[in-house]
Symmetry: C2
Subunit: 604 residues, 2 copies
Amino acid sequence: MSDYVNMNTLKFLVKDVFDAKKLCELKRFSDYDMDSFEILMDSNKSFSDKYLKPFQKEMDQNPAHYKDGKIIVHPSVEKVMRSAGENGSIGATFDYDDGGMQLPHLIHQANGHIAGCANNGAIGYPGLTEGAANLIVTFGTDNLKKKFIPKMLNGDWGGTMCLTEPQAGSSLSDIVTSASKLNDGSFSIKGDKIFISGGDHEYCENFIHLVLARIEGAPKGTKGISLFAVPKNNFNSEKITESNNVTTIADFQKLGEKGFCTTHLAFGEKGISKGWLVGEKNKGLSHMFQMMNGARIDVGMKGASLSTSAYLSSLEYAMNRPQGRRIKGSGNKDIQENQALITEHPDVRRMLLFQESISEGALSLVLQCSLYHDLSNASDDDVSKEKYHNLLELLTPIAKTFPAEKGLESISNGLQVLGGYGFCTDYDLEQYYRDIRIMSIYEGTTGIQSLDLMGRKIVMKNGAAMKLLIEEFKDTIESAIAYDELKPYAEHFKTNSKELGDVIMKLLEYALKGDHERYISDATIFMEYMSNIVVAWQWLKMATVAKTSLVTGNNNYSKEFFEKKIHTMKFYFKYELSRTSGIKNILLHPESLTIIEKEKKVFI
Amino acid sequence: MSDYVNMNTLKFLVKDVFDAKKLCELKRFSDYDMDSFEILMDSNKSFSDKYLKPFQKEMDQNPAHYKDGKIIVHPSVEKVMRSAGENGSIGATFDYDDGGMQLPHLIHQANGHIAGCANNGAIGYPGLTEGAANLIVTFGTDNLKKKFIPKMLNGDWGGTMCLTEPQAGSSLSDIVTSASKLNDGSFSIKGDKIFISGGDHEYCENFIHLVLARIEGAPKGTKGISLFAVPKNNFNSEKITESNNVTTIADFQKLGEKGFCTTHLAFGEKGISKGWLVGEKNKGLSHMFQMMNGARIDVGMKGASLSTSAYLSSLEYAMNRPQGRRIKGSGNKDIQENQALITEHPDVRRMLLFQESISEGALSLVLQCSLYHDLSNASDDDVSKEKYHNLLELLTPIAKTFPAEKGLESISNGLQVLGGYGFCTDYDLEQYYRDIRIMSIYEGTTGIQSLDLMGRKIVMKNGAAMKLLIEEFKDTIESAIAYDELKPYAEHFKTNSKELGDVIMKLLEYALKGDHERYISDATIFMEYMSNIVVAWQWLKMATVAKTSLVTGNNNYSKEFFEKKIHTMKFYFKYELSRTSGIKNILLHPESLTIIEKEKKVFI
């Protein structure tokens, strides 16, 4: 088994770049130290070696599927849920009071990375359970917590998020699932929910579905949506008593992530499905969104993980595959020579470096967000909390989108490294290529993330978050510029970050003129532009820490390790950051070509 | 069944942009007129409706596979081979004397487009038979032609190309399959060939494999490779007599193109496999390459066809899918309104226009090459023949690569238009996303094509082909610039084409200094750059013909049809051509980051 995760790079990020030790100075995390973080990561790796990685292909080849009203999943799902319950990882980041471990998100995500590199599909089951439990913990009454949380955290019960309905898709204002109050204070929930990941299987005795629905008489649109916890089965303190009439009526067969079931659930069709209001009436969507932000970071990590394991897989192939000969001097090849390893061919090196620059850039960005998450939760003062919260909000759509979009490109390059073999099911790459494609769709498509970035995050609080990000950029530039080797890159980045500000100001003119549709019409292109720059920032940061390590003689990793990080930064700057000037041209282009004009039917 | 091919656009290209009628003035094509071309295309469409499109999904869901020494394929393969034989399409472009129809490649490729949009996998079977027959017709003796060709052209026998071997991959200099002369003048062929498309199935009674092998004692490397025709079964004038010991020992299960079998063949393992030398001894590779150029154009067309049917599929979905509401004025949505069709959202329009601009740009480029092919074959004078041959040679790697690489991106956008549904096997998009991935690998990977473009085609005959292309660009610019509406685009393109020349001159400095490895190290990026500009040329050409049609009142298509072509050209220029300035930055970047330095082990 080739290694599927780069533990050195992960630890370098956690320890050296994001300085996890410093988190332990905060009260919330004061029971931890760096050693305990490392022990957790290492034990996670051992678990993944044994129970996750070996089933990755098997789960793909034996897709979860619907049969006679049930969903059949791979048997390893039992072990995954059971262990996640036993080792506390479902509620790892929760408060002690809620049965959690108060682990920093930074470490929790690092663990998620290891597991996600090993088996991206399997970890969705505990992942969604965590998300659902988190909603109850955050917004539910003590009574609800007592009712649901212990069984969810110990892995006996699964959890899901039920948002999408057939007629509404991404447009949550249009959901129609209804909730009518019953005498005991609970609600009768009625409606269909589709694309429910991890919605049902035999290895959890119960599921708690977190469902968006409208209480009868609620206002139209997003302001009339409430959040409910709806168990699959009713229960008393001792055991499951009877069905709560949540029925699994179909599944979705998919391009990838085949081991992770996707279901169609019907509530209240065969009898009453009782649900309990979570949080405030009509505030369901904003409650859900608080959780959704976490889920978006998780999707970002899944993209980063798939890209990473794809990179390592391509690399291993390339380092063992002789083919052709180097082109030297005036272009002649010497066929008397033995064949060269394909890692000697510049084009193969380019593809591998591209994979590395994208997968590690993505990983770094997701961990950056996790650190901000921790600092926004646990900082000592409110000003800091607010600051890191703003940064987290701004970067979340980017951390969700970059690993998905560029990760796909990077995996496709990885498949290409293997040539014809990459297209064959004997190798892993084709699975990664299929699996990652959902990451641009899960938890809000790239289009939706881009609208969020431009329409909300850039402009929120008068651009406060953007200003903070520019400050963060400046800190990194200052540290980098001190080294002669890094100076040109720091300056290149400085130019780019200034241009980013200019582009935003220019685009805002449309919004200020009241033409909001034009302002957001190229949001996805803006996302491509800004995320390219944000990841350059991460690379400059990594290269600076690597350089400092070389200078100060940090012995945790080899000299080559640090040099490689600097090299890959240079690669990213040449091959990726250079592209921004073209993308900027699109954004500043005066023509509007995608806005419908009623008199022109452009698609006939 | 939604329409899978845009017959209007195809006819616009064939008739109006590439003026197929003019070909009929050449002696070779003088039996044809535009009406007969149209009849052929229409009857091809009817056939595809009935016999190709209906099995597209079925062939994917029931992959061709190896069982007990045989390859099992979908039963519709029989009908496909049979009909291709009956309607003459296998040898359509061959000389009358060789049993062909002397049909222009332009029309043959247009027919291939229709069939490829309907069922990309199925058409591989007659397609490879055509390629193999073409090699025999071009280089074989009369005796060989008589022996093999009639049965191949009537579809009774299949044909394949056997190049790749496990240890050699793309490096054909390293193939080891051997040929030793037998007393009757034939050769005994011995060796393994992998990735043989269409290599075996029960619906052809025989297969003629075109095999690269080394005659004993031949020089090492590419200069010692010869080409052989090796039948699966021996035969006499009446019937198949006995096995020729070509055995199918395995298949490859793949990400996509699952209906089109990929096999592992062993020659001479169980007894003598007799083969006949085709063409000159030790000239096998150059013979094969003549054919390969045609195969590369075919792959380009497959990419263009998949992108086209994906576009039409996304478009149909989008035009029937209500979701959300337009963002108007200051950004508020009116939830009292009915949901809008998603074609009203700028981001969805952007994705659809992207799909259209890529798929039609790719189609146009492939047809352009087919026209050059015809003119290089059938022009009246040698100067013209040479001119069009050079243009064809130069554009072939681009016509192979652009539809594959950008087609993948376009299909991925198409999948995104459907959101979660796009990821589900109930819709076509996920199949297209899988199928197109092979096009960057088939018949020489993108890396190989890019080396060919920069290392051979750009520099051949002292840049002669490049000069001709610049002349072609100039003609298009001149026609476009005459229209006020098109003038800015013509000028934009002029700047780009000038920059292309500058970039080439700059890069050639490396080669002139003797550093060939550096010269070709970013060949794939150069391919991305140049193909972007070449397709912009195609769009400018299409827009100019559309504009002329509007001005002169061409009634073959609607006013909206022509306006849409101009609109999509503008889209391509804004959203794609604008990117070249970023790509140029990469090419002109002074750092070398992908060339191995022996002292640095960059991949540890």
